[in-house]
Symmetry: C3
Subunit: 448 residues, 3 copies
Amino acid sequence: MTASINASTTFAPLLVDLLEEIDFDQEGGAAHALVERLYPFCRSITGNGVRRSLRLLRETIPLALPEVVSHTRVFDWTVPDEWNVRDAYIMNEAGERLVDFRKSNLHVLNYSIPVNRTMSLAELRPHLFTIPEAPDWIPYRTSYYQKNWGFCLTQRQLDQFEEEEYHVYIDSTLHPGHLTYGEFRIQGETDDEVLISCHCCHPSLCNDNLSGMAVAARLAALLHGLSLRYSYRFLWIPGTIGSITWLALNEAILPRIKHGLVLSCVGDSGKFTYKRSRRGNAEIDRAVEHVLTHSGHEFQRLDFAPHGYDERQYCSPGINLPVGCFMRTPNGCYPEYHTSADDLSLISPFALGETLAQLLRVIQVLEQNRRYMNLNSKCEPQLGRRGLYRQLGGMQDRNDVEDAMFWVLNFSDGDHDLLDIAVRSGIEFQGISKAAELLREEGLLKLI
Amino acid sequence: MTASINASTTFAPLLVDLLEEIDFDQEGGAAHALVERLYPFCRSITGNGVRRSLRLLRETIPLALPEVVSHTRVFDWTVPDEWNVRDAYIMNEAGERLVDFRKSNLHVLNYSIPVNRTMSLAELRPHLFTIPEAPDWIPYRTSYYQKNWGFCLTQRQLDQFEEEEYHVYIDSTLHPGHLTYGEFRIQGETDDEVLISCHCCHPSLCNDNLSGMAVAARLAALLHGLSLRYSYRFLWIPGTIGSITWLALNEAILPRIKHGLVLSCVGDSGKFTYKRSRRGNAEIDRAVEHVLTHSGHEFQRLDFAPHGYDERQYCSPGINLPVGCFMRTPNGCYPEYHTSADDLSLISPFALGETLAQLLRVIQVLEQNRRYMNLNSKCEPQLGRRGLYRQLGGMQDRNDVEDAMFWVLNFSDGDHDLLDIAVRSGIEFQGISKAAELLREEGLLKLI
Amino acid sequence: MTASINASTTFAPLLVDLLEEIDFDQEGGAAHALVERLYPFCRSITGNGVRRSLRLLRETIPLALPEVVSHTRVFDWTVPDEWNVRDAYIMNEAGERLVDFRKSNLHVLNYSIPVNRTMSLAELRPHLFTIPEAPDWIPYRTSYYQKNWGFCLTQRQLDQFEEEEYHVYIDSTLHPGHLTYGEFRIQGETDDEVLISCHCCHPSLCNDNLSGMAVAARLAALLHGLSLRYSYRFLWIPGTIGSITWLALNEAILPRIKHGLVLSCVGDSGKFTYKRSRRGNAEIDRAVEHVLTHSGHEFQRLDFAPHGYDERQYCSPGINLPVGCFMRTPNGCYPEYHTSADDLSLISPFALGETLAQLLRVIQVLEQNRRYMNLNSKCEPQLGRRGLYRQLGGMQDRNDVEDAMFWVLNFSDGDHDLLDIAVRSGIEFQGISKAAELLREEGLLKLI
């Protein structure tokens, strides 16, 4: 079911070279174009909308579309019936469609059962959802596991409803079918994996989470074909039920997942937010925080908490994978969250490109982070006779490369990896990594 | 010697119900009434004053009054002779009582030997104690273990002394007798104990420590008859020698003491102060700090230091019990400390009631704090089908009960008790505890 | 090779007495006088300048001058040829010495090979070093391991050079000989050692590091003859190659080194700086920080970093001794660093005396820091009957000595040494140490 592509051919390009060449504005533009095309589809946790969305991603990367049959038991949950909707409206006595699914996917309560009846406003009223304090926005509401039907509309629309009879019509189906998700795996030199996961179940909402879906696709496309140490697994899955399903069906794989990120809300103009894995000090946590610290961007760190996105499942106590959540403005922290105002105007190619840049730098840290042993640990080795140290002594200024070499030598004692040394020294990881490479080439370090 | 009452009858009321019904103003009033009645007695570390004080507490709870015979060896100390005083004065040549024990218990140096002599002011002077910087206040001074006699008086009194002969009279006795203390024990479901200790040796000083004596008595009365998990042991003991005596005679009990508090200076209007146990992070320390954090009151935390009250003995290195000290304004930090100005005007029913409220909440945390194991630790359990989760999805606001359930589920991994989870989540303990109860009833948690 | 003097004779004076008598201004004056005499010599990492400098220190203490033959392998390094220089100049066509070694030792690139040629300014130019931003100062430059020659001069001198032929003359030799260092050891009661190390290789630079050399000599002279617990080893060694050489030749001694300090830049008027050992929380680190905290001086703490002085070698991962670096303004942090402006005007007797005072107090802490066990750990012992506690009770103020005794008693549990207790209590170490001595004399503590 998984698309697997072996990237470790002899002539595969390197991530370090990619990072020097890449035009992140252009990459952000490509991600934004994907969002624009995905925006009109009516997605849910199952059904043709999500299926069609994932197929569109195949233009970018050859992902697999595994399908899990309805009613499959997945840990404590059961895969629900597949939901599809074709049309829906509320029509007044004059035959006007006051609320019309064809105008916004959000108008239908997600997972509504079919309905085709005439009723009074009083009877209809409990099935209408608005946001009184944002009267021009349609809310996004769902009822996956409790059979219900309803309409989401603007408060201004609701204010025009009068006491009359309404024809209420939802042409939906809830039948045994499948839960569909997207999976793409890049084989690296080792079977150790980095997991990138995003939820793909929200209908026309851009930041949450077409941004994550598009960035994951572009990231996969950029890594695909590179020479990589880790294997990379990308998942586009319906929120909660999707990650639970994947985890339940792939338990054997979990020990191989060494690092992971959930991507969501990565297209708005807010500062970056990193929510740590449940472990709190995993390598992925240190890597993301190091990269963001040196990014020149302000960012916020959050400790793990059991609310948010699929990190809730990846970090449940019996799974406890080192998976953090990479965001810009977090869920619930911007006013347009889960409303029709989370539209194309909320995100930008520039912001998507910036996100991609940080993610690639995090991956570069993971790829290059190693633990070395100083083979010459009694006093400093003489770097000068190896051409690694300045010829002239006495200068006041410190040389960055020399400085990094001394940090690597002093702390390559078996207890510290390069990322530890970068954090301790305050030197950006690439400087530490290059210093280690110079020292290794001279036979002064041994990989452990 | 110990009054023991079994509280775990089938129909015993619960602390949680008590906390909902209780009127803390009324409770504070009852404590204050106790202080008013105890105020006139001349207490010391032994003698009839303390005996009479403890007997008065028997109107509130049926405490036992163990008596330890003078000269008993208790660790490095020896129980001293019993001291009693009937009258004392300094009379001038004109026959006026310039200093008169009948006007204040503080006028006699506590543990003064008897004296009945005429002497010059020069000879008398070294036996007179005042506070020059607070000329209207009588100091409180003691000389328990060094035979001495003296008078404490106001500076204004002393200023009126002239060069003449004085008749100095102290009608006291120091004879073999007993050291008396009060002890009251409530048997809970288990023999594990919570210790509440206060010193009862100070004469007419209200905040230090009639406040602690009265609050302990009211607390015992409130807990008495409840259905409790822990057993509760209350001690009213003379400072230092009392706790040393009790510890020396009850070493076999010490392993059962799981938590403890020393109560002192709990009736003034200052903010709460919690001095941690020597362990620093004992459950009692975390419980008190959690309750005070959520109390809406400002409070200060102090690390353990080997000065203060009987926590010095409970936290001596060879005893090292998890006993903290609960105060409002600490000893030495208010100007009226150890003077006649620590009188009824310094304390209030309201402050005593607030103290009682915090202590009961701390006890509620101890009673309910448990460690559970999530029985469904791989991904979240589906709370919705158990009726534990909202029916409609997509809302921005988080539901407090749901939030608490997710915290309990995620951190009930064997390493965290409910108090840990409350502290980590920032949710008040009762919310966490109720969530755990809901989850346990659904079979999702197991007590460990 | 090592001068060893046994200080533990019966009548040897005590450090504590020395500290009460010492006049630190006078001591600073003596150190300054040493610097003045050492200033004119042209030192390098080998050669007669350093040899002559160390011989001059013999007027202060009878140090040994071990010599290590050129080309000896020391870990990854090789002892270089010995360098000596007699004269050097740049003469213009008019026969004027534009740059003249006789005016400043800094004018010659340290370790210059001999040269005696006539050349154009263009050919000469790459061999001339100035500091354009400090046009009146001569830089200090070296080329120990890369054969080169050159002159260091002021920018103003260089500005007067015209396009003409120059006679360039350096009368130096680079021949097999010796690396010379100074070593002085004081035998204490135990063979456990405190290492004091300073680099002695810089030519006419006062703060870096004639200050360290002179302070180390005075410190040795002050300790010499005292009754000491530790043995003390003082090293005056050429930077880098000297410490590497000493470590390579004395590996068997290293397990005995319990504490150490590198001294450098200790004569300027800047605040104290302590750079921690690589271990970060070694006893020497805690001792220095405690002394400086109570010194009344502002000071800065730096974590270990693998740049600086010989602590780089002592704290290399395979050596990892508990050696910190004691400085005033650190290397590179004052503008005169490694220039001719690091002259006698930069340092003062007063600053050198202050440094000596702090170092002696640190040594006093090391000498007196012990771990005791409270022999009466169940409750407090009764200090009153031993005459260790005030006779009169009830006073508000705490007595410093009593306070210190209670801290020592409570934390002498096997886990804390006296320095730990001083840090925890906030009481200056001497107070804690005196309290421990009182308690030990009373049989309440046992040395462990």
